[in-house]
């Protein structure tokens, strides 16, 4: 997550010093969901000040970054607005499970169904834990926490549905032969490729 923009947003609300920023950022998530170290905030503040997006509030005595109040500059507000106007792109990361599954199919070291089941059990245990926690938490937890818990539940659910889809097609996948690209010739081409035995 963007600590930089979170700091800008919190400073737009009002001027704060580093220690206050750390506490405010922590409470944004309804708990210590975003594990941001205080030192990270101070370093971010220094970098933002160098870029002219924040500045020390005039008329305050100097001290450590935890005690010096910072405020947003006009350039900082422009940067913050531009951040809000952009959608957040979800990264489609390389999925290690899928790699495992494909290698199980091609290498024959492991039954791909067993790879799938191991993954499924693990996801269901995560979901069981999340559901249990959600039931216990729902009454007392802040709404921000509940929504994040719901997001985690939905992610696991989506993964499980994806596994279901894969399971239905695993036999077909195994039947498909992997087409590997032909190795490209390397180095200097031979002078007479027609007669490799030479003259």
């Amino acid at each position: 997550m963007s600590v930089r923009h979170a700091v800008l947003g919190l400073l737009h609300q009002r001027a704060r010093h580093g220690y206050e920023l750390h506490a405010a950022l922590t409470s944004l998530g309804g708990g210590e969901v975003w594990d941001v170290k205080a030192a990270q905030i101070y370093a971010t503040l220094d970098r933002l000040a160098e870029s002219g997006l924040v500045r020390e509030q005039p008329g305050t005595q100097s001290g450590g970054p935890q005690r010096r109040p910072f405020e947003l500059t006009d350039a900082g507000l422009t940067e913050l607005r531009s951040w809000f106007s952009m959608p957040v792109k979800t990264g489609y990361q390389r999925d290690e499970f899928f790699l495992k599954l494909m290698l199980a199919i091609t290498s024959g070291v492991q039954d791909p169904y067993s790879v799938l089941r191991t993954q499924r059990t693990s996801l269901y245990r995560d979901l069981h834990e999340l559901m249990t926690h959600r039931q216990e938490a729902s009454a007392r937890a802040a709404l921000a926490q509940q929504l994040q818990l719901e997001q985690a539940v939905m992610h696991v659910e989506a993964d499980l549905r994806w596994l279901e889809l894969i399971e239905g097609r695993l036999d077909d996948m195994a039947k498909q032969t992997t087409v590997e690209p032909a190795p490209k010739p390397r180095g200097r081409p031979r002078k007479n490729p027609q007669s490799p035995d030479g003259e």
Binding site: R125, L130, M131, H133, Q145, V153
Partner: protein, 245 residues
């Protein structure tokens, strides 16, 4: 302690000219207080398994033992008594009698068994109150929401104090909020009232509320896992959860 033990169940249905093997040798033991979800693609045999465990149907081969009773050797009358007194059923469609109030619906299994209406309704009221419907006892089914109707159906299934509760897609007709409530309720029946619950579902989050998950495929059990084996729970989720609390 084993409450119900199914051994090598086989069931084939004739479908036109072809025979469909719904179960091809399923063995399963449920212990007292178990909360089990059965999952699998449609046609994998999960509803058939539930029907055989509940004595709603007879297997072609194999045995079902409930306590000391061998269900497969009971005559129809004996099977009816087992179903009426020792097993509770909950279905996707709530199957409530539309002209009877909630309390009359819940009391029905007892009154059918010859219990006086006043005693039966006394017990029915207790279960309706336990399930949070104390203020709905005189409502007709169509005056209740889907989630409330399913809770009435669960109260009806429990009023005979059965040792086993079988639920076939109990949340299939409910919105996600009511489905969550029913899942929580089934879990508490197992946690607090020591009922043994087996449910068939295709909904991952409902299944995940169970403590044990059985997967069927092509009529056989392909996976049987304990979900609350917290030793195996990934430390990642655990630490995320701790951070949330």
């Amino acid at each position: 302690m084993a409450l119900i033990t199914a051994t090598q169940l086989v069931k084939t249905y004739a479908e036109g000219a072809t025979a469909v093997r719904a179960l091809a040798g399923v063995s399963l033991t449920l212990n007292e207080g178990d909360f089990v979800a059965v999952m699998g693609p449609s046609g994998c045999g999960k509803s058939t398994l539930l029907h055989l465990l509940g004595g709603l149907d007879r297997p072609d081969a194999g045995t079902v033992k409930l306590g000391s009773d061998e269900l497969t050797t009971l005559d129809d009358e004996g099977l009816t008594l087992v179903r009426r007194r020792r097993i509770g059923f909950v279905f996707q469609s709530f199957n409530l009698v539309p002209v009877m109030s909630a309390i009359e619906n819940v009391a029905l299994p007892l009154t059918l068994d010859g219990v006086s209406a006043s005693v039966a309704e006394g017990k029915a009221k207790v279960w309706l109150e336990r399930l949070g419907l104390g203020d709905r006892v005189n409502h007709l089914p169509d005056q209740l929401s889907g989630g409330q109707q399913q809770r009435v159906a669960i109260a009806r299934a429990l009023v005979t104090e059965p040792v086993l509760l079988l639920a076939d897609e109990p949340t299939g007709n409910l919105d996600s909020k009511s489905a969550d409530d029913i899942a929580r309720l089934l879990r508490s029946l197992s946690d607090e009232h020591r009922r043994t619950v087996l449910m068939v579902t295709h909904d991952p989050r409902i299944a995940a509320s169970a403590r044990r998950l059985v997967f069927l495929k092509d009529g056989v059990i392909v996976d049987d896992q304990n979900l609350s084996a917290s030793l195996d729970t990934s430390s990642k989720v655990r630490s995320q959860l701790e951070a949330l609390s």
